[in-house]
Amino acid sequence: MSTPLPAPELLDREFLEIRARLLHVASSFDRIDRAEGAVEADPRLAKIHEALAILSDGKPDRAERIQLVFSRPYEADWRAALSPRGADPKAR
């Protein structure tokens, strides 16, 4: 299934909203810059920059990839540490 609207019409509909959201992000950065104190070492800022790079890389699935930037990693062997059954999922 795809979107019924053609790309030019979607851009027409969403251009002003995209523009407004970009300005919102830009003004947030400006505000942080003007404020006292330093945040360069804050790991959240690195994630924001990683997400911004995804926005402009021209590849698909940007929303999914940005979600993963802000996600803790999944480890398939999590049961060994966190499951009451230990590493054996069939144990009851």
């Binding site: 979107t3 609207l5 993963l68 802000f70 996600s71």
Partner: protein, 278 residues
């Protein structure tokens, strides 16, 4: 358009919200048990909560001809207290045969801890033994991806569960594919700042299709919008989707999923076709 909100916490809402929802076309809703904003101190607090969900909320909804259904559990946040959780799980069977009880939920994980996993598995065991449907909460923000994958692991480990009778809720772009690929139902929650917007929910419909997909407001005591499902309906229309596709997601799909519960005694609204009008 008539619709069903499959996940909304009406105990946190005022009666005026029932009236507004009825005016906007909501004919039924299901309300999972959840965290009240504070940790309850005893099993009796949960027993009273389950009475509220099975006695008073259906009555309040009925004042506006909205059909109210519910799910029972101790939520993932309070599951950190394993002793209390086991007391609550022992009480749940007293309520499972009450009218409108659809199953066990919303169980799941919150911070993906060992205690949460322990109580999640014990809820799954109760659901399997009592043949109940399951509604699952997935964690917030940075914990969602990891927690959703852990939940899927635990569900898939249990061969007793019918995946068509399990709804994994609050999916987003990074979790929806795994949920659907494993054969479970997926719910998209429309929130003002976290979770999903109506426009992003429409994107996911376009990418994954309407099969086993639900959309809900999860309206509660926090920032949320109980009328978010009508927002989704409008977003679908503006994107050019057919009324039949919209209806499938907001009405037919909830009916199909809930109909697998023995306590889903649903009376469809009287629908007038255009040719019947005079």
């Amino acid at each position: 358009m008539y619709y069903i909100d499959p996940h909304i916490h009406m105990v946190s809402r005022v009666t005026d919200d029932y009236e507004t929802l009825a005016k906007m076309g909501c004919v039924a809703m299901s309300e999972p048990a959840f965290w009240a904003g504070f940790d309850r101190g005893s099993v009796d607090g949960f027993r009273d909560y389950f009475r509220q969900l099975t006695e008073f909320e259906p009555k309040r909804a009925g004042w506006y001809k909205v059909q109210h259904y519910t799910w029972l559990c101790i939520n993932a946040k309070e599951a950190e207290n394993v002793t209390l959780s086991r007391e609550v799980i022992a009480v749940i069977p007293e309520f499972l045969d009450r009218p409108g009880v659809l199953g066990i939920g919303e169980i799941g994980l919150n911070k993906n801890t060992k205690n949460e996993a322990t109580i999640f598995l014990e809820h799954l065991d109760l659901a399997a033994k009592t043949d109940e449907q399951i509604l699952i909460h997935t964690p917030h923000l940075e914990d969602k991806y990891q927690g959703t994958r852990m939940i899927l692991d635990m569900l898939c480990d249990d061969g007793r569960l019918d995946r068509q009778r399990v709804l994994v809720d609050h999916v987003e772009e990074h979790t929806i594919r795994a949920v659907l690929d494993e054969g479970f139902w997926a719910g998209m929650t429309l929130y003002p700042t976290s979770k999903c917007t109506p426009e992003r929910a429409v994107d996911m419909v376009e990418m994954y299709g309407p099969e086993r997909l639900l959309v809900n407001s999860a309206g509660d005591w926090g920032p949320s919008k109980p009328t978010a499902v009508p927002d989704f309906i409008l977003a679908m229309r503006l994107r050019g989707h057919s009324e039949s596709l919209i209806r499938r997601i907001v009405y037919d799909n909830p009916v199909k999923f809930f109909s697998q519960s023995r306590n889903f005694d649903f009376t469809p609204p009287e629908i007038f076709e255009p040719e019947e009008r005079v």
